[in-house]
């Protein structure tokens, strides 16, 4: 399953339960991020076991996008069905702070930077 959101691409690999984010995601407002929320919800609903969020190829994400992903993580935490692995890159500016924040939101997240 693939979602094109602005200049970014989100791919869900069902077999490996892996969501890969690529490009640069700077959608205009929170409302426009509904498509990302829906995409994540549709593909991960009822999922159990390990789920990977791979941001290594996502060069930029604005604050509305960070809020969207934070809410997704909080929702996963609330449901407690999945074990989250968040992959990031040290070379991408937005990830240094934001991925650490994801870990603050849910300490059980496995962070791989």
């Amino acid at each position: 399953m693939i979602l094109h959101a602005g200049d970014a691409k989100v791919t869900y690999d069902k077999e490996n339960q892996d969501v890969k984010f690529e490009g640069s995601m700077r959608l205009a407002n929170m409302k426009e991020y509904d498509q990302v929320t829906e995409f994540l919800k549709e593909n991960t609903n009822g999922l159990a076991g390990k789920l990977t969020l791979d941001f290594t190829e996502l060069q930029f994400l604005n604050s509305s996008g960070i809020t969207t992903l934070s809410l997704f993580i909080l929702n996963c935490k609330k449901k407690g069905d999945v074990e989250l692995l968040v992959k990031g890159s040290k070379d991408v500016a937005w990830q240094q702070k934001s991925l650490a924040n994801f870990k603050k939101l849910w300490s059980d997240i496995h962070l791989e930077i």
Binding site: S24, R26, A28, N29, M30, F60, N62, S63, S64, I66, T67, S70, L71, L74, A93, Q96, K97, A100, N101, K104, L105
Partner: protein, 513 residues
């Protein structure tokens, strides 16, 4: 119901009114064709049985015609049930019944032209059925099918012409001549019998006039029913046009109302922006502080921004400084910003030295207001600083802090990553908060900014970035605070060129005198 929905409903209704007359026309034509077909074929078989006591052509009468009757019967029952509302139609079934009925009708039309006992009559009578099928195919299956059938039936006509022979002529006999021939046949006249055998061999058997009449009646009935339903649809369409025009006029009036509403909302947003800017501290309030030289500015991306800054001199001579950046921008973000500003002010005025506690309480209040009252998920990065004497205590996660140490002449970038988390996203952030103390001596400068500055994008999609900001900052450290702010804005606007400002940009420069 809002104006948009109303307008859309009126247009939907107008569309429905226009499509209503043609809604079941094709189905009605198909039902009529199916019914006439079944009745005609059954009648034909009955006549054969009555006249001959048996069915003369087993392949045709016992295989092909029963298949035709079954296909038409299925279509007739299905479409009648859908038309009467007893059954819910599906596109797949609609298509199957229409195509199967029309295609078998086409096959029959070809067969009766080329496989009839008397092929010479094909061009006189039987080809008329191909013409009726042309009309039925066009109305039930569409123009493309009609074009294909036109070409097939034209080829069929010329083939029939070729088979009969281009030199063939129709010769009419008087009734007296026919009676005389029949009389000779019944008396066993060898010459008459020989001629009859020749006629059968050449596929020119005599046919009664009644047969021609009944065949044409069937053709007329099919064509009449198709025309009846089609013309009925046209008259209904003409009938609803005044109603549709009225609906379109209503939609147009609503469009004008919507434009007026948009203008009013634009004015409201403009007022909200003015209220928001009024809440920000002015240069006059910065000047009141004897030890600090402060300059700040906020440029919102849309009419109402989500950024804010605060400068609150305390009774003990200390100052509380705040800078926040609410997710998104627009009216709701502006509202969160106003709530954050007033919450911070009321809390820090009470206990200015306890930043962690102030931030934790601000978070809780905002979380409850945003989630429970606004039913929204906006949050903010918020930094609080308490400046007292030669020290500045900072708490909260925000953008990196740029600083200049006048004694060493060095500039630095300090991360706020470990000092907090987003405010308003979770109910309790206490465990994530930390304070950090910075030295603030004469000539030292601190620059706070929101991410709109570093994430300002030029026409090539390139960001202004922290590196560029830091270089420019280092060039400006000898300037006064207002100049630093002005020059940084000038630099970032020169960088983005004609690109649209995508996020609010806020800057605050504090220099110890």
């Amino acid at each position: 119901m809002n104006k948009n929905n109303q307008k859309s409903d009126v247009l939907l209704e107008a569309g429905r009114m226009l499509s209503e007359p043609s809604r079941d026309t094709r189905r009605k034509i198909l039902i009529a064709v199916n019914a006439v077909f079944i009745a005609s074929l059954l009648l034909f078989l009955i006549i054969q049985l009555v006249n001959f006591g048996t069915l003369p052509d087993p392949v045709r009468d016992m295989v092909f015609y029963p298949i035709l009757i079954i296909i038409n019967a299925i279509s007739l029952f299905y479409n009648s049930a859908v038309l009467s509302g007893k059954k819910k139609g599906s596109r797949k079934r609609d298509g199957w019944t229409a195509w199967s009925s029309v295609v078998v009708t086409m096959i029959l039309a070809l067969l009766i032209v080329h496989a009839n006992p008397n092929t010479a009559t094909s061009m006189l009578v039987d080809f008329g059925f191909s013409v009726v099928v042309l009309f039925v195919a066009g109305t039930v299956l569409g123009r493309k099918v009609a074009v294909v059938w036109f070409l097939i039936s034209a080829a069929s006509l010329f083939l029939a012409y070729h088979n009969v022979g281009t030199a063939f002529e129709y010769h009419l006999l008087t009734q007296e001549e026919v009676d005389a021939f029949n009389e000779s046949l019944s008396q066993g006249d060898p010459e008459a019998l020989e001629r009859f055998d020749l006629l059968v061999e050449k596929h020119l058997q005599p046919l009664p006039a009644g047969l021609y009449v009944s065949v044409w009646l069937i053709f007329m009935l099919i064509a009449f029913l198709a025309v009846f339903f089609e013309s009925n649809m046209i008259s209904k369409v003409l009938g609803v046009i005044p109603g549709v025009i009225e609906k379109i006029n209503i939609a147009n009036e609503e469009k004008i109302m919507l434009e007026n509403e948009n203008m009013r909302m634009g004015m409201e947003l403009d007022v909200a922006r003015k209220i928001q800017l009024m809440m920000l501290p002015t240069a006059k309030s910065f000047d009141k502080h004897k030890d600090l030289e402060v300059a700040a500015r906020m440029d919102p991306a849309s009419e109402v921004g989500g950024d804010f800054y605060e400068f609150l001199p305390q009774e003990d001579g200390s100052v509380i400084v705040a800078m926040g950046d609410v997710t998104d921008h627009g009216l709701q973000s502006g509202l969160v910003m106003l709530m954050a500003q007033s919450t911070v002010r009321s809390i820090v005025d009470e206990k200015p030295a306890q930043l962690k506690d102030a931030l934790a309480r601000t978070n809780k209040i905002l979380y409850r207001n945003i989630r429970n009252r606004m039913n929204d998920f906006r949050n903010l990065t918020l930094l609080l600083a308490h400046i007292k004497g030669d020290e500045m205590t900072v708490c909260g996660q925000h953008e990196n802090i740029l600083s200049y140490n006048a004694q060493t002449g060095e500039s630095a970038i300090t991360s706020t990553e470990d000092m907090g988390i987003y405010i308003g996203l979770i109910e309790d952030v206490s465990e994530h908060l930390a304070e950090k103390v910075f030295s603030l001596k004469s000539g030292d400068i601190y620059l706070f900014y929101t991410d709109g500055l570093t994430e300002a994008e030029n026409e090539s999609g390139e960001f202004y970035g922290e590196e560029r900001l830091f270089e420019k900052f280092k060039q400006l450290v000898k300037s006064d605070s207002q100049t630093i702010v002005d020059e940084l804005y000038k630099d970032v606007y020169a960088f983005i060129g004609n690109s649209e400002l995508l996020d609010d940009i806020t800057l605050m420069v504090i220099r110890k005198k």
